[in-house]
Amino acid sequence: MWLLAGGAATVWCSTAGGDSARGERVFQRCFACHSVVAGEDKLPGPNLRGVIGRRAGTLPGFRFSPALIEAGTGGLVWTRATLDAYLADPERFLPGTEMGMPGLRDAVDRRDVIDYLEKSGPTSRRTP
């Protein structure tokens, strides 16, 4: 079971209403490894189209780290709130993650990039 500490920043950032156009620019920090283009799935990181609602470590065809698979098995689902916490400090949120990006320290950056991700494709149906 994954629970988030209810910090003010996390609560605020979990709310939609950001600037997704700006979020696309913030996404340049993720661009080397991730795509939101359907079918672009040969990159070092998983395709993030429809990541909201997806159980962690479950995109078919992508080889996830043991840490992400374990987290998904334990119930971690990517919501605005969990993505916000992960992006703020990936290694702290999920020790053992292979993602090299050190995190987005600015809460507005996180809000906007999550907005961009949310608008880039349909939300995934939650897997049981």
């Binding site: 620019r25 340049q28 661009f31 080397a32 070092p44 020790p95 292979e98 090299g100 050190p102």
Partner: protein, 319 residues
């Protein structure tokens, strides 16, 4: 400039015996939370590392275990560090999109930002050529060159877009880089800047880092395939070996002064040494879970590996 003296926090740990009796292994615990990404050791034995998560450059004196941290700025997230011909650490500073030099004596931080029009390039790794110029890669799909003497900087689009990752110089002065997302290596023309793609034999292999042996042959760590491969430019020939284990993931590569090839392998959570003559692998597993070694560098008799997942630097000393 803020300088932290953390000698009391540093512990020197003797790790369990390694695979080979002629290798001793020592771990240096670093200030927590830095996530050491890359490491470089100078001729004087001083070790520099990038504390990517805290935006600092670390300096370790292995003799005393003392660590100093040099802040690189509020938005800093340094990725790579190498020692330049001037003996100074040079940093590919991903957070501020800049090449950075830190004066080893005064700790002054000097910055060369990339052209603003290029946007964020996700700076990765750097290498000096034999003409005093520093070449660098940006994972968003660029490579570039800075002449520190004049300050002139040029940036080129990488062929096939995003992915430019590790970069290295051969003993003859040629520069090669690897493209992780592009699954190739490239040789850079030092005069024109043109990069020529060279295809490894394994499709979609995920060439992550490169290093040269003493004969100018390029060794490649392949993340997706779990291979290590070698390109011989003179013969235009490749040779490939699979690392041990069911599903290896080869992240970093470094060739030591004896032409032994060091690799970090994430599935086994181990450093691996490969002997090209006997074609045998020798594993040095970490004693901590999730070591996540992202780069390797050394000097004669020493190989250094930053454990980004455990906040430690590991040194392998050859007797």
């Amino acid at each position: 400039m803020r300088r932290l003296q953390l000698a009391l926090l540093v512990t020197l740990l003797a790790l369990p015996s390694a695979a080979s009796a002629e290798v001793t292994v020592q771990a240096y615990a670093l200030p927590p939370g830095g996530g050491p990404h890359d490491v470089a050791v100078g001729a004087d034995g001083i070790v520099w590392y990038t504390a990517q998560r805290t935006g600092q450059l670390g300096r370790l004196d292995p003799a005393s275990g003392k660590v100093d941290l040099i802040p690189l700025g509020p938005a800093a997230a340094p990725h790579g560090v190498i020692i330049g011909p001037d003996g100074a650490p040079w940093v590919t500073e991903g957070g501020t999109n800049s090449i950075v030099r830190v004066d080893p004596r005064t700790r002054e931080v000097k910055r060369w930002p990339l052209p603003e029009a290029r946007g964020y390039v996700n700076l990765n790794t750097a290498t000096f050529d034999k003409r005093g110029r520093i070449w660098f890669t940006g994972q968003n799909g660029i490579y570039g060159r800075l002449d520190p003497a004049s300050g002139a900087m040029q940036v080129w689009d990488a062929p096939r877009g995003r992915g430019a990752y590790g970069i290295a110089t051969t003993p003859d002065g040629d520069v090669y880089y690897a493209s992780l997302a592009g699954s190739h290596i490239a040789r850079v023309d030092l005069d024109t800047g043109v990069a020529t793609v060279i295809e490894p034999p394994t499709k979609g292999q995920g060439a992550r880092r490169v290093w040269s042996d003493s004969r100018g042959r390029i060794w490649v760590s392949e993340w997706n395939s779990g291979n290590v491969s070698r390109y011989d430019p003179k013969a235009n020939e490749w040779k490939t070996w699979k690392l041990p284990g069911d599903s290896p993931r080869t992240y970093a590569v470094y060739v030591d002064d004896k032409d032994k090839v060091w690799l970090s392998e994430w599935s086994a959570n181990a450093m691996v040494r490969f002997d090209p003559e006997s074609e045998k692998f020798e594993a040095f597993p970490s004693d901590r879970r999730g070591a996540n070694v992202r780069q390797i560098l050394g000097r004669p008799g020493e190989v250094w590996a930053p454990e980004s997942g455990t906040d430690r630097l590991i040194v392998y000393r050859m007797k």
